[in-house]
């Protein structure tokens, strides 16, 4: 039986005192699983990812990672100590670094090892041919390939994907979705995909939850 990697218990969040985004949300994720989070715009899907990765603090509730508390009302592990990867919708490669240097950015070890590892991840995402290119010379799809390689290269157990394919055209979106799923399965990396497309979630995820009016509904695939 697969062990539980992430558990979100009765989580509530608000940006300002009078503006609650969601309340009392609970769900869990097992090792190697891909979880889809669906819901209309503004419902708090991205905020939920930001809470898990540690970019925001919850109002109430707890987030457990491998059984240890990451966030609660009195415990907070900073994001750089959590080891959770993040890929966002915007193209946020570091513009002053090449594709290879972007992937190397989160790696530790000797320069030679970092180069080899970064290049291997670029290969897995069919992006090795533009390893020495700067982001401004890459297309949207190529940039997202590098961004995904950068997120998984440090070997996180969990990668959060915040609508990473939404700015790409249909064919490229399907291709990248398929390749990413293969990569996550191959590396046994758990992931959470935020999307507002049911088809995308069905194709890529093992289980799907829907956020609606602050509640969580499990959908059958």
């Amino acid at each position: 039986m697969k062990r539980e990697i992430l558990s979100v218990n009765s989580l509530s969040f608000e940006y300002t005192k009078d503006k609650e985004i969601f309340s009392n949300i609970s769900f869990s994720l097992n090792e190697g699983e891909i979880l889809g989070i669906l819901g209309p715009s503004g419902i708090g899907k991205s905020s939920l990812l930001r809470l898990i990765v540690g970019l925001e603090r919850p109002k109430t509730g707890k987030i457990f990672y491998f059984g240890s508390v990451l966030s609660s009302t009195n415990i907070f592990v900073p994001p750089n100590k959590r080891g959770i990867g993040l890929v966002v919708q915007e193209k946020v490669l570091f513009p002053h670094l090449t594709a290879l240097e972007n992937v190397k950015f989160g790696l530790k070890g000797s320069n030679k090892d970092k180069n080899a590892k970064a290049l291997s991840y670029l290969k897995l995402l069919k992006a090795e041919q533009f390893a020495s290119s700067y982001p401004n010379s890459l297309s949207g799809g190529q940039q997202q390939r590098v961004a995904i390689a950068r997120a998984i290269a440090p070997g996180p157990d969990l990668v959060l994907l915040d609508e990473p394919f939404s700015s790409l055209d249909k064919d490229l979106r399907e291709e990248l979705r398929k390749e990413s799923k293969e990569l996550f399965k191959k590396t046994n990396t758990s992931s959470i995909l935020v999307t507002h497309e049911l088809d995308e979630a069905k194709e890529m995820c093992d289980k799907i939850i829907e956020l609606n009016e602050g509640k969580v509904n499990y959908l059958t695939i």
Partner: protein, 543 residues
């Protein structure tokens, strides 16, 4: 562990508060002087000269405001609405007078228009007149001062008005025409009221600069609050009365500072958002073309070309003190040395505070940064007097007592004054650089296990290189022009270019003053280059 982290966080965030404390202390000491004893010198001032100081300051403000209004709004209107000869060149060239500090224009004006000045000599030679014939009237009076301030400071009004006019949609003007307004009515009843906040904001800057100036009014023997402060301190050595006078100037300036901020906030109502249509320019020909060109060229000629010609003439044809003389070189290196130290501090402090603001949503840092940016409006003399009192308090009560160190007369006061006056420049540059950096870069970096310090050095610094360099250059070029605070706070026998120019001009050695003055103007051109780029980029729809 958690407590240690909170303490560390508190420590980093408290550093801007220490700077805020250093910023506020000179002002607090100045304002506290109002609650202290008013001595004999104060009574003397009240009975004999203070009314004169105040009246002269008010006359100066009124005269400079009116002339700057005509020059600034007029040039902005013509350049925005008409297509005439050399317009694309004049569009940025009319801001060149900003590179000439008022005191340098004042020195060149006396050199030009005095009885035996170049202009009168030229007229006498051309028309073969007698040696004692004087064509141009004496400029060493309040009227001369009004002309000098107006022709060097009108670009502030031009810049704010031009920005507002550029953002004014053609739809509004067309609506006015459909309602039957004549061209004159369109100008006075529609276009100008719409850009009124921008005009007032520009005028407030002109007034603050006029009130703060010391060099030009001193040279023209016009007694204002600023010359009063200087004389009370340097002539009577009465720091308390100088501080009490400074409080008055500070209150005057604060009023105009708030007026400028208030009007700047209202400036957005002249913008028309998504319905924007670029103003149609009217092509001018013949006599109209000539007069509009002349109108826009005149302030540039008087405020920039004329002083440059005269300074070049003095520096090249009467080189009693050339660019490479020991005296000028020492002043130059002193100025650059101070400029670099202050600009490095301002830039890195601006980087630091904006970096903290990026990760902190609280209001304290935001408020601190905004408050510190108000330093640009403080008159140099007021700041200098406040720093002297603050440092003397520290010397007496702590430093001399415990460490046997004295701050007064050291370079530190000067650097503190420069930092307080120039922080706004650095902060605005770095802040706009940071706005262009997506927050997602930071979010992704922390998930790649990078600390805030690593993000700062590996992401922010490389991506902010241009902003950092711009900030360093802008601050240096601003500091080079500073005269009143430098004059009071400089260590003994430590001259800067501005001080050297002032001393020569005060001794009527205009030829000797030319080389340092030229250097100040040339370095002052650097920020103008950046400003002209901003003007070009500010056009809605500009590429």
């Amino acid at each position: 562990m958690v407590i240690k982290s909170y303490l560390l966080d508190f420590f980093w965030k408290s550093i801007p508060l220490i700077f805020l404390f250093l910023f506020l202390m000179p002002l607090i000491f100045i304002l506290l002087s109002l609650f202290g004893e008013f001595g004999d010198n104060w009574n003397h001032l009240i009975n004999y000269v203070l009314p004169n100081y105040i009246l002269n300051s008010i006359y100066l403000i009124i005269g400079v405001s009116l002339l700057s209004l005509v020059l600034g709004v007029g040039t902005a209107w013509c350049i925005t609405n008409y297509d005439f000869s050399f317009k694309s060149w004049l569009e940025w060239a009319v801001i060149l007078p900003l590179a000439v500090p008022p005191y340098i224009l004042a020195y060149t004006f006396t050199g030009l228009f005095d009885s035996y000045g170049s202009a009168n000599e030229l007229i006498r030679t051309i028309f073969n007149l007698e040696n004692n014939y004087i064509f141009f009237p004496n400029v060493r009076n309040i009227y001369g001062a009004i002309i000098v301030f107006s022709f060097t400071l009108y670009p502030y009004v031009y810049l704010t008005t031009r920005m507002a006019l550029l953002n004014q949609s053609r739809n509004l003007i067309e609506a006015g025409k459909l309602l039957g307004l004549s061209n004159r009515s369109l100008f006075f009843k529609l276009a100008i009221p719409l850009v009124r906040p921008a005009i007032i904001a520009g005028l407030a800057l002109v007034i603050m600069e006029t009130l703060s100036d010391f060099g030009a009014v001193e040279h023209f023997a016009v007694q204002t609050l600023a010359t009063g402060i200087f004389r009370t301190w340097f002539g009577m050595y009465d720091l308390n009365t100088a501080m009490q006078l400074s409080s008055m100037l500070l209150i005057f300036v604060t009023f105009f500072l708030f007026l400028e901020r208030y009007e700047r906030n209202k400036m957005s109502y002249s913008y028309s958002g998504s319905t924007f249509k670029k103003t149609n320019q009217i092509k001018l020909r013949g006599i109209k073309n000539f007069f509009i060109f002349l109108f826009c060229f005149l302030p540039l000629f008087v405020g920039f070309i004329l002083p440059i010609i005269e300074l070049t003439n003095w520096a090249i044809f009467y080189p009693s003190e050339n660019f490479f003389s020991k005296n000028i070189l020492i002043s130059f290196f002193n100025t650059i040395f101070l400029g670099i130290i202050a600009s490095i501090f301002c830039t890195f402090f601006a980087l630091y505070i904006n970096f903290l603001k990026r990760f902190d949503r609280g209001y304290l840092l935001k408020f601190t940064s905004q408050f510190l940016s108000l330093g640009y409006a403080l008159p140099g003399l007021v700041l200098a007097v406040g720093i002297i009192e603050f440092f003397s308090f520290l010397d007496k009560n702590f430093l001399n007592y415990f460490l046997n160190v004295i701050l007064i007369g050291s370079i530190l006061g000067l650097i503190l004054a420069y930092i307080i006056k120039s922080f706004a420049l650095a902060n605005n540059t770095i802040e706009s650089g940071y706005i262009r950096l997506s927050n997602s870069l930071d979010d992704v970096s922390v998930t790649l296990r990078k600390s805030k310090l690593e993000i700062f050095f590996k992401i922010h610094i490389p991506l902010m290189k241009t902003s950092i360099l711009t900030s360093l250059i802008l601050v240096v070029s601003e500091i080079i022009k500073e005269l009143p605070a430098t004059l009071i706070l400089r260590p003994f026998n430590f001259d800067t270019l501005a001080v050297t120019t002032y001393i020569y001009a005060a001794e009527e050695k205009m030829y000797e003053a030319a080389s340092p003055a030229m250097l100040i103007v040339l370095i002052g051109l650097v920020p103008i280059f950046f400003l002209s780029r901003i003007i070009r980029d500010s056009r809605p729809g500009a590429k």
